[in-house]
């Protein structure tokens, strides 16, 4: 069997199946992670004392537990209390929790960087606190949080590979299967690495375009430095 045959007939088809699973994981995780991040951040900054404390504790717990262990707990641990999630669901829940917790930190930072005057002015117009948060604070915070959120999205691309530990055969897992069978570790991981690099590059370019689209004069320095991507 020559290299080309191995590459095109064996490796790539398997990797493409894996990639599909990886993309499914990412595409499903990201929106929920964002929403969770927003809710937790708002809960922490504007929620009542109890809500704020709960959010803070949950974030500390999630940030403190390595994701792999979190996945093990969700998948292997929960059945003992009667909750049996499929491997895909368990991965998804784990990723959303993790992604949400980190996102909330970036959004929280962005919220606190917004001048107090913005919320005061909104309230002076008769907006309720929550209206002010929704229509005035969050839009600004989200724009500022984009760099952090995109960092987290890139992390998500990479840590989605941990789903493999729960029997979900995504990109990395697919690669590993082929590698163990044929002992072609180097080739396999170079290609898997290249695919991840491609995903990350696409993401960074997409983020750049988004930043440029939502850029508000004087509010961010977004898009200033294309070089930080390439």
């Amino acid at each position: 069997m020559d290299q080309a045959e191995f590459l095109f007939q064996i490796l790539l088809p398997v990797l493409m199946d894996g990639l599909a699973v990886t993309l499914k994981l990412i595409v499903l995780t990201a929106p929920f992670g964002l929403v969770l991040g927003i809710l937790v951040a708002v809960g922490r900054v504007y929620g009542s004392k109890n809500i704020s404390l709960i959010c803070k504790g949950a974030v500390a717990f999630i940030k403190g537990t390595p994701l792999l262990l979190m996945l093990f707990i969700l998948y292997f641990g929960l059945p003992s209390v009667g909750i049996t999630l499929s491997a895909f669901m368990a991965s998804l829940v784990g990723f959303v929790m993790c992604n949400g917790a980190y996102n909330s930190e970036y959004i929280r930072g962005a919220i606190s960087s917004i001048k107090e005057g913005q919320i005061i002015a909104a309230q002076a117009l008769g907006m309720t606190r929550m209206q002010a948060v929704r229509h005035i604070i969050l839009p600004q915070a989200l724009i500022r949080a984009i760099p952090g959120l995109s960092n987290e999205f890139i992390y998500l691309i990479k840590y989605s590979s941990l789903a493999y530990m729960l029997t979900v055969i995504e990109l990395t897992g697919a690669g590993k299967m082929v590698a163990t069978k044929y002992f072609e570790y180097t080739e396999v991981f170079v290609i898997v690495g290249a695919i991840y690099l491609l995903l990350v590059t696409i993401t960074t370019i997409a983020v750049m375009l988004i930043e440029r689209k939502v850029a508000v004069p004087g509010m961010t320095q977004s898009g200033r430095n294309m070089l930080d991507i390439l």
Partner: protein
């Protein structure tokens, strides 16, 4: 003033921050169409007083009435009163992520529930009133200070308020820009808007105000018409304070 209906009544407002008593029982009444200027040294509680009126700061004691309704203790209803009491800030506090026209219309849509088309029309109308219609699509960072302040006045006007509170609307501006903004305010005053203005612009105060209130140490120490301020002995402490501005050139 052909209308003597009392539109705003402030009674015995007290406010402390920690140990610091900032307002020590302030009371006054405002007639519809009146323009009142507050002057006085820094840290005297002028801004705090304005904020107590629409409960952006919660007073420790005292009541505020708008027409025949109590503003203090209005609970959830406060958002209704805040629409009726416009406010313009020293640093404009425009919403940084919205264009001028969106700044004006956002509360119309989200608070008043107006439909977007109507809101846009009204917003443009108000921008025209302050001479900013051409700048409707610009973001706050693209406006000069005077322009930003005029947009913020349009934003307050759009809610059709009964009273507008101005907290040092020109003190972040240089003389030329100050002039732009004072012109707009003068126009408003002449058009019969009820206004409470904290300012250091004695020229404006003397020329436009119906009444001037001199505040010091959390109390209204002296008050009267501009003419009284200029002529009578009543405004002794106040004249002393104003005197300082000229000191430096009279050395």
């Amino acid at each position: 003033m052909d209308n003597t209906e009392t539109i705003l009544r402030v009674e015995n407002i007290h406010k402390s921050f920690g140990d610091l008593e900032v307002l020590k029982g302030v009371s006054f009444e405002v007639t519809k169409g009146e323009t009142i200027c507050f002057i006085g040294p820094s840290g005297t509680g002028k801004s705090t007083l304005l904020r107590c009126i629409n409960l952006l700061t919660q007073p420790d004691q005292g009541t505020v009435w708008l027409g025949d309704k109590e503003v203090t203790n209005s609970g959830k209803n406060i958002n209704h009163f805040r629409q009726k009491i416009g406010m313009v800030f020293q640093n404009f506090f425009l919403f940084d992520h919205l264009t001028a026209v969106r700044n004006v219309e956002v509360a119309l849509i989200k608070v008043k529930g107006m439909n977007p088309k109507e809101a846009r029309e009204k917003a443009l109308y108000e921008l025209r009133q302050v001479g900013m219609e051409e700048w409707a699509e610009h973001y706050p960072a693209e406006l000069s200070g005077g322009q930003a302040q005029r947009v913020s006045i349009a934003r307050a006007l759009a809610m059709d308020p009964d009273v507008i509170l101005f907290d040092e609307p020109t003190s972040a501006l240089d003389p030329e820009l100050t002039r732009e903004v004072l012109e707009v305010m003068k126009k408003l005053a002449h058009a019969g808007m009820t206004m409470l203005v904290v300012t250091h612009e004695m020229g404006f105060a003397c020329n436009v105000a119906n009444r001037i209130m001199f505040m010091e140490h959390g109390e209204i120490k002296e008050q009267g018409s501009p003419d009284e301020l200029m002529s009578e002995t009543k405004f002794e402490r106040c004249k002393n304070f104003i005197g300082q501005f000229n000191d430096i050139s009279g050395d």
